[in-house]
Amino acid sequence: MTTLPQADATIAGDPREIQVTVDYLPAAAPFHHRYSPETLVEAVRVAAMAFFGVRDRQDRDTYRYFLEIGGTRITDTSQPISNFVEHGRELHFHLVEQITPGSAG
């Protein structure tokens, strides 16, 4: 049941693949990768963070990176990326950082 989509996704030039682009404001170049539609947002988020050399972290405050698309920050990263395709086979995200202040004192 789970092998068929994975097998499909490994075929070069799989027509179902989605071309994903992620921009990050300080970077001069975006992250590009093709993913199968079933790929979870979290996988893209992690790959983009690695490409841009950033990571979630915590000290007194919490720093977490999110993908956003069309002005909407994606908080449920367990969704497949196909949920965000409106037309065609392309997705364009922006990587943004959320800082949540810790409690003072």
Partner: protein, 181 residues
């Protein structure tokens, strides 16, 4: 297919019009005793050129005494606007209030964008220090912000009088040309 996201920067070109626009923008929150700041955006390369001053203000931006924060939604709005122009975030310039040194605080170091080559600039006295030589200049490198010495700043910061930068404001709804008041 993917290329290096952070080309090394030898020189930053900053037009005087960007300095003027920056000071004008940050003096507004400064007059109210709040912190505030601007983004410097432009083309990132060995010689990186500041093309625009973007002023985050309004919805999605907190300006308060000792505290300035821009929400990820505003960063997203600026990102969408900048990418369309092929521009990157080159620097973040913010003010400290009267009596607070023009140096990055621990909180600044943690809260500012952490990407190689990004400038963090601090203007003291609520934005009334007009001389960039009095500002604190820092570059993010090797995982933290390091101060740029006056000698290095003289060598790597080229102040020009060549082209007026664009001045934009940004909030949750997006970016639009700034209106002088």
């Amino acid at each position: 297919m993917n290329v290096q996201p952070y080309p090394g920067i030898d020189v930053w070109e900053l037009d005087r019009s960007a300095i003027t626009a920056t000071l004008t923008a940050v003096q507004r929150p400064g007059r109210d005793g709040n912190e505030g700041g601007v983004f410097w955006l432009g083309t990132r390369a060995a010689t990186s050129i500041v093309r625009a001053v973007v002023i985050p203000a309004g919805d999605g931006v907190t300006e308060a005494p000792g505290f300035w924060m821009v929400t990820p939604e505003v960063y997203g709005a600026v990102s969408r606007w900048a990418i369309a122009r092929g521009w990157s975030l080159l620097g973040i310039c913010h003010i400290h209030g009267e009596g607070v040194p023009a140096r990055l605080s621990v909180q600044d170091r943690n809260h500012l964008v952490r990407a190689p080559g990004v400038l963090a600039v601090v203007i003291g006295t609520g934005g009334r220090d007009h001389d960039p030589g009095l500002w604190g200049w820092y570059e993010f490198a090797a995982g933290s912000y390091r101060e740029i010495s006056p000698g290095e700043r003289d060598r790597r910061l080229r102040i020009t009088d060549e082209a007026k930068v664009e001045v934009w404001s940004a909030d949750l709804r997006g970016c639009r040309p700034a209106v002088s008041t």
